[in-house]
Each structure stands twice: as C-alpha cells, then as structure tokens.
Amino acid sequence: MNSIKFLWAAYIATWLIHGLYLGGIARRYKRLRQQMKDLNGK
C-alpha cells in the first residue's frame, strides 16, 4: 500500500490549517495594536 503520500497530505493539511489560523490571529492583533496606538495619539 503506497500510503506515505496520504500521511504527508494529512500532515501538510494539519499544519497549513494551523499556520493560516495563527497568521490570521497575528495580523488581527497587529492591526488592533496599531488602532489602539492611533486612538491614543489623537
């Protein structure tokens, strides 16, 4: 059974999902920090 490609597919899918989600959180966090700084500067 050539199952190694399924193993890699599952592994890549897992870390792609987590990576995209963590990247999304990081972007939102950065944007909010900037908004808070702007509000403080006004």
């Binding site: 059974m1 193993l7 987590h18 966090y29 909010l32 808070m36």
Partner: protein, 253 residues
C-alpha cells in the same frame, strides 16, 4: 502572565517539533496499515483538544449566563473558534486516513456524521457571534453553546453504542497498543493540549483587545458629538484604556 506567554509559546513549539519527530520517525510502523497509521498521532490529539476547548466553551457560556461577566463571554468565543480549527483538522485528516485504509473518503456512519454536526453547530455559533449586532447575542450564543456541547458525548460514545466503521478507542476500548506507540500517542496528546491552550490564550487576548478598541472608538465618537462634560469624562476613560494597553495592565471594563 503576559511575560510568560512567549516562553510558553517557545516551549510549546519545541514540544510540537519533538512530538512530530517521534510520530513520523521514531514510532514503529503499524503492521496492517503501514505508515498512514501515523496520522493517528495528530488526528486523535486534535479531536481531544477540540473536545477540551468545547468543554471550556460550555463552562464559560454557563458562567456568562449566571454572572454576565464579559471575560467569560470572551473566553467562550475564543475557545469555540480555536475548537473549530482543531475540529476542522480532525474532519480533514480523518478522510485522508480513511481513503487508503477503508477504500472510501467518507461514510455517513454515526461517529463521522456526529463530528460533522458538531463542527456545523460551532460554525453556526461563530457565524452568530460575527454577524449579529443585537445586545442579546452573547446570551443567545451561550444557550446555543450549551446545546452544542450535548453533541460532544454523542460523538465520543457513538462508537460504543452503535455499529460504526470507525475503530474503537485505543484507551479503554478493549484494543491494545504497542507500549512505544502508546508513549508517543500520550506525548502528542499532551503536546496538542498545550498547543490548544496557548492558541486559545492568544485568541482570548485578541478578543479582549478588540473589545477595548471598540470601546475606545465608541468613546471617541462620543467626545466628538456631545457636550464638554461628556467629552471630559469620555476623554478620561479613553486615556485609561489606552494607558492600560501600553502598560500591559488590564483595562477598565
């Protein structure tokens, strides 16, 4: 606690790397399924972590309904979102594992279907949180979360009570596991639990920051529209929120 976050994040990343190495390289190859069985080391821990996060969501939702504490509400929405991410991993890695082993990607048996329903319930919860502006949204979402959590035991026990394509649980299900596999499985269970907790913590901080920015923007618009008395009070409050974010101390609620 804020200073501990980067240290714990690095430790969790190191644990994840070690757990992945153990799962992909060190763990013995299963006799009948071959290498694809190694999906087990992140499929099952992902499911476990999703269940734990949905349990946190349940407790936080009940706490919110009883005490109306905004921190409980923020924790509820954070744990639900991260739980959905882990549940998505389960729903994607499951079919990838099933295809070479069962010969099919998906079957509508109780375990798989109840997991899909669980995912849909929590996606509905997040859609409700995202698109409803009503003041009653947190209450409605908390009630939905309590009903959603009822599906978790159904997912877990479905393979005990119904005939299903899905294998029986490894621990407590009458099956046996090579001690080396069990050791690596428990390591990954712990690692994914830590990872889930860290992501949930980070998401909680984001949720809290979002609420403070919303509050600050609302106060700023008040300062522009109302008289000098309101402006002075709003200005003082806005200053407190901004100072709390810069100093890292918790802001006013």
């Amino acid at each position: 606690m804020k200073r501990a976050f980067p240290i714990l994040a690095v430790l969790t990343a190191a644990l994840l790397a070690y757990g992945t190495y153990q799962a992909l390289v060190v763990a013995p190859t299963e006799r009948t399924m071959g290498d694809v069985q190694r999906i087990f080391y992140y499929h099952v821990p992902s499911a476990w972590t999703a269940f734990c996060l949905f349990f946190v969501n349940l407790v936080a939702s009940i706490a919110y309904l009883i005490r109306k504490n905004p921190k409980a509400d923020a924790l509820a929405v954070s744990s639900a979102e991260v739980g959905v991410v882990f549940c998505t991993v389960v729903l994607i890695t499951g079919p990838i594992w099933a295809r070479p082993v069962w010969g099919i990607w998906w079957t509508w048996d109780v375990r798989l279907t109840s997991t899909l329903v669980l995912w849909l319930i929590y996606v509905s919860y997040l859609v409700l949180r995202r698109f409803s502006d009503s003041a009653q949204t947190p209450v409605l979402a908390a009630v939905l979360a309590i009903f959603g959590a009822l599906d978790v035991p159904l997912v877990y026990f479905s393979i005990w009570f119904f005939r299903t394509q899905h294998p029986q649980p490894v621990i407590g299900g009458g099956g046996s596991l090579d001690p080396r596999m069990l050791h690596i499985f428990l390591l990954n269970l712990f690692t994914f639990s830590c990872f889930g907790a860290m992501v949930c913590w980070w998401r909680y901080r984001l949720e809290w920051l979002q609420r403070e920015v919303d509050e600050a923007q609302a106060l700023e618009s008040l300062m522009g529209e109302d008289g000098p008395g309101v402006s002075a009070r709003a200005g003082a409050r806005l200053g407190k929120i901004s100072a709390s974010k810069i100093s890292g101390k918790p802001g006013p609620q």
